[in-house]
């Protein structure tokens, strides 16, 4: 008599556990999808704004574009495929961060080159300031 309820309880746990896990998994997937949608939408430029991403723009078109991003990700497309879709419609202009190739490389390389040149200039100047007087100064 004692065993029956425990067997029943065990069966109940076995039946309910996967269902509970499934119920927990769905919101988790939703959270992941939402995160991924935000990540992709923040890399896309809002076409009707000035320097705002699709994620940050409150405009209706941006909201619709975000919905398209979400739908495509939910259908199994990768973030790169979703971005490629928008590039095919709007051109590379739609990407807030241009791809590092061709003339775009200048955007990435020029600041580094300027930094190196500036550092070189500082080093050269410091050497001149510290080195020149001591070389030319009369010993006391």
């Amino acid at each position: 008599m004692i065993r029956r309820p425990s067997v029943f309880a065990l069966m109940l746990v076995l039946v309910m556990a996967p269902a509970a896990a499934l119920a927990q998994a769905e919101p988790q997937d939703e959270v992941e999808l939402e995160k991924l949608t935000s990540a992709v939408a923040s890399q896309l430029r809002c076409p009707v704004c000035q320097g705002l991403s699709v994620e940050d723009s409150p405009t209706e078109l941006a909201r619709d574009m975000r919905a398209v991003v979400r739908e495509q990700l939910a259908s199994g497309k990768s973030p790169e495929e979703v971005k490629a879709y928008f590039v095919s419609k709007y051109g590379e202009w739609i990407l807030l961060e241009p791809k590092p190739r061709g003339l775009n490389l200048a955007i990435y390389l020029l600041p580094v080159a300027a930094l190196v040149a500036g550092a070189g200039l500082i080093v050269r100047s410091v050497r001149r300031w510290t080195g020149a007087p001591s070389a030319g100064a009369p010993e006391s």
């Binding site: 076409p47 078109l61 919905a67 590039v87 419609k89 709007y90 202009w93």
Partner: protein, 185 residues
């Protein structure tokens, strides 16, 4: 400061000035259209009924017009430039009515009631206006605002896209060469 320093300063400054001037001349709002040359994205959209109590029933598919020149005009009743270009579109649609040219309006972010009132005010419906819920077709065509006009050639390829107002001269210039591609049975 020696001549070499001056030369280096000029060589560094000149490209920056050139970039700055180029930036000053370009319109930051201009988006170069990307879809000309690509297959026109197909759609199946419901035609906006012109009577307020009429339920939308007709579905219009782009694929049904393969072999014809299709002019798609994205518009809205709240769009002021649309008011300027509409008479030009209507005139060309009437001019090419008996030829293989189809005009379709696609409503963008607007209420059918407002769109109907606007069309009636502009002289009535001359070609169908389609409803685009969620702007899916607009995004498929890379829409950045209204008005925008796309011309699809008889093979189903985007031949032309104009961001902004179109006029009769522009439309005729684009339509005429495409009509030569229409193959008659």
């Amino acid at each position: 400061m020696n001549l070499r320093s001056v030369l280096i300063a000029v060589l560094v400054t000149l490209p920056l000035v050139a970039v700055f001037l180029r930036g000053m001349r370009s319109d930051p709002r201009f988006v170069p259209p990307a879809i000309p040359g690509q297959p026109a994205p197909d759609f199946a959209l419901v035609r906006m009924p012109m009577a307020a109590d009429e339920e939308p029933s007709d579905t219009i598919r782009l694929a049904d017009y393969r072999g014809k020149v299709v002019v798609l005009n994205f518009w809205a009743s709240w769009c002021v430039p649309c008011r300027v270009e509409h008479p030009e579109l209507v005139a060309v649609a009437r001019e090419y009515r008996d030829r293989d040219v189809v005009f379709l309006g696609i409503l963008y972010k607007d209420q059918p009631g407002n769109a109907r009132a606007w069309l009636n005010e502009m002289g009535g419906e001359v070609y169908p206006t389609l409803l685009d819920p969620g702007s899916r077709t607009a995004i498929d065509y890379g829409l950045t605002g209204v008005p925008e006009t796309v011309i699809v050639d008889p093979s189903g390829t985007v031949a032309f896209k104009r961001i902004g107002i179109v006029n009769r001269e522009m439309l005729v210039r684009e339509i005429e060469p495409l009509l030569a591609e229409v193959v008659r049975p």
